[in-house]
């Protein structure tokens, strides 16, 4: 139950600028995901919020209090590390209890709290075990337990699922989703490089690249209305197809292979340099009217529930994701429809252009 406010935050390691002028508001109780390619600064931002890294310039406020110089243990935060960071020489009980011991709580109270948390995480039978005798999933839960027991205002997750195999990852995602449900008023910040995790877990996503925020918004907002080329290409899997286009003020967009798309007259049409179409929105033209993109099928991947078709045409390589088991072979010609509603337009700087 804490609001976070970040203003003009900069972070440099020596001469290297890692975070550049970050402004961010996180409302209390939200589950926010920081996502971006490696090196974008998401982990650094998380560590700054935790207090493990200091701020070069700018302010961080939690619940209206400036936290720049406050130590990590006094910010009311708890963190789940990528490698869990369990104390290898302490039992599960010891690991979870440690923070409470540091707070100076009486023994009986510590015991009660630890046992309560262990119960919710199904760890009651393992309280006397050492971390090296636990499975990956159990260690994950101990790490979560250690964080929950401190009753934090802000919960931080640093790529908690990266070290798990695929099956365990799904299981843990459900655990974390449960956590979110059980602690609806706790603000949670979750860092990942996996955009699927971002889309499924967050109320709100913050996309970072190269130390800057590219876009902040709800998952579907980022999917439906990406504000720039980077976000458009980052969110959604498989990635969006991009086509070079030339826009004219008479409302025509000309593709590289000559295909012309007529849009309503708009002063902004001339600014458009790129058109984007998600593979899942690329449907075969089926003889309908309207402009199409033509290409030869290079490769077909049949996945059972969908078929991925890789095409090459006059406007370059592009991908179509078709539902079910679509019958098409390599070397076939295909024409893809260009539904205006599904197209995204970007100017020469990569910024989104809204065409009425």
């Amino acid at each position: 139950m804490a609001d976070l406010t970040i203003r003009h935050l900069n972070k440099s390691f020596g001469a290297i600028r890692v975070l550049k002028d970050i402004d961010l508001d996180i409302e209390s109780g939200r589950f926010v995901v920081f996502v971006g390619p490696s090196g974008c600064g998401k982990s650094t931002l998380l560590r700054i919020i935790s207090g493990l890294e200091d701020i070069t310039s700018g302010t961080l406020e939690i619940d209206g209090r400036v936290m720049n110089d406050v130590g990590p243990s006094k910010r009311g935060i708890a963190m789940v590390f990528q490698t869990y960071a369990l104390y290898p020489h302490m039992t599960v009980f010891g690991n979870i209890a440690f923070g409470l011991e540091m707070m100076g709580l009486p023994r009986a109270e510590i015991r009660a709290k630890v046992e309560a948390v262990a119960a919710t995480l199904q760890l009651s039978d393992y309280l006397d075990r050492l971390p090296r005798h636990l499975s990956g999933g159990q260690r994950q839960r101990v790490a979560i337990g250690r964080a929950i027991v401190r009753d934090p205002r802000v919960f931080l997750f640093d790529e908690p699922l990266s070290n798990l195999d695929a099956a365990l990852r799904v299981q843990m995602r459900i655990e974390i989703a449960k956590l979110k449900r059980d602690m609806p008023s706790t603000t949670m910040i979750y860092v990942t490089h996996d955009q699927v995790e971002a889309m499924t877990m967050g109320d709100e996503i913050v996309v970072l690249r190269d130390g800057r925020i590219e876009q902040v918004g709800a998952p579907l907002t980022l999917y439906n209305r990406p504000q720039n080329r980077f976000v458009a290409g980052f969110i959604g899997s498989p990635a969006m197809n991009f086509f070079d286009v030339k826009g004219a003020s008479d409302g025509t967009l000309r593709f590289a292979d000559g295909t012309a798309l007529r849009l309503g007259k708009s002063p902004r049409t001339a600014d458009v340099a790129t058109a984007g179409l998600r593979p899942e929105h690329a449907a075969p033209a089926d003889g309908g009217r309207g402009p199409t993109l033509k290409g030869k099928v290079r490769l077909v991947e049949s996945l059972g529930n969908t078929t991925m078709v890789y095409l090459t045409g006059g406007c370059g390589d592009f991908t179509a994701q078709l539902p079910g088991q679509y019958a098409v072979g390599e070397g076939d010609d295909m024409a893809i429809a260009l539904p205006k509603a599904a197209l995204h337009f970007f100017d020469a700087d990569g910024q989104r252009v809204e065409l009425g």
């Binding site: 493990l52 990590p72 243990s73 960071a85 290898p88 020489h89 302490m90 923070g99 540091m102």
Partner: protein
């Protein structure tokens, strides 16, 4: 002089050539005489070759270490020239001999004080130097005494402990400090009981660097995120040190502590050079050396003292072997 160096270099060349000749020659012979003809012979080659590799080492170990252990034990039941069997007479003598009992007493104090102080200082210095930018230089300087011989260190510290009568100027550092603060100068290495501690200080001075280097490496191996998690959990620096860092390196601390213990048992140079056992500073290692040559050499008694040193080492030897085996099984 030049001739001597030349003969040393020649010895090196001859030794290397001899070793190379043995290894190359024996392996070549093996392949020629036994190998090649059939898979069975190849297997025979494979069975014999390891012994060719290991034979010289095993031979040296047997002659210079294994045989002597048995022989010393055996000689402890014999008289001064190793010929006459005397049963337990040497042991009876030992338990009645003042010098021997004094040595045991002193060794016990040495064994408690030196490893503990060296390890503690080493740990503290390792932790402190990790946090400052000139840490590596500091570590080098504290480690440096390890390169010096024990005799050289004894000269250095004899100089520090030097005593002049109260009217003259003190040239020893310790007495200069003491008189500078208004005290009386003392002949430190003759003071009963305390002189042992002054001798121990020399070994602590040397061994702390050893402990520091090894413990610093162990500290560096502690996962950084366990420390960060403790910070978030609200632990202060001292708590982190005691509850998070030290428990994660207890294995190394024990290794350091036992290694220094072994060194303490073997060191005779310091006592020999500083006091030669006078003023109640005698230790077992020095006593043994003494008996080897005293009055022409008493092999029986010397061996007996050596046996006691060995007994003190055995628990550590057993622990080392157990630990080694446990690791091999992992």
């Amino acid at each position: 002089m030049l001739g001597q160096i030349t003969s040393a270099l020649i010895a090196v060349v001859v030794a290397v050539a001899a070793a190379a000749a043995y290894f190359a020659g024996s392996n070549w012979l093996l392949d020629r005489l036994v190998g090649g003809a059939s898979p069975a012979r190849d297997r025979a080659v494979g069975r014999i070759r390891p012994w060719l590799f290991a034979a010289p080492a095993l031979l040296f170990l047997a002659v210079y270490l294994v045989y002597p252990v048995y022989e010393t034990l055996r000689l402890s039941f014999f008289g001064r020239n190793g010929e006459t069997f005397v049963g337990l007479a040497n042991y009876a003598w030992a338990f009645g001999d003042g010098e021997f009992l004094e040595s045991i007493r002193n060794n016990i104090v040495w064994l408690i004080v030196v490893p503990t102080l060296s390890t503690v200082f080493g740990l503290v210095i390792a932790v402190l130097t990790d946090r400052i930018w000139w840490g590596n230089i500091a570590k080098s300087l504290i480690f440096m005494p390890m390169a010096i011989s024990f005799v050289g260190a004894s000269v250095i510290w004899k100089f520090v402990y030097d005593y002049r009568s109260a009217e003259s100027t003190q040239i020893g550092l310790l007495n200069a400090i003491v008189t500078g603060l208004g005290g009386e100068p003392e002949a430190w290495i003759t003071l009963p009981f305390w002189n042992n501690l002054f001798l121990m200080a020399i070994l602590v001075w040397i061994q702390t660097g050893f402990a520091m280097v090894i413990l610093a490496a162990a500290l560096r191996g502690i996962p950084e995120d366990t420390i960060e998690a403790a910070r978030i959990d609200g632990a202060g620096e001292l708590r982190i040190f005691w509850r998070i860092m030290v428990p994660q390196i207890t294995g190394t601390i024990l290794v350091v502590w036992t290694t220094i213990t072994i060194i303490v048992l073997k060191v005779f140079d310091i006592v020999l050079a500083m006091t030669n056992g006078q003023w109640d500073t005698e230790v077992l290692a020095n006593l043994m050396f003494d008996w080897m040559f005293r009055g022409g050499g008493d092999f029986g008694r010397g061996s007996t003292v050596a046996v006691f040193i060995m007994i003190a080492v055995i628990p550590i030897m057993v622990w080392n072997i157990r630990r080694f085996r446990a690791e091999r099984r992992d």
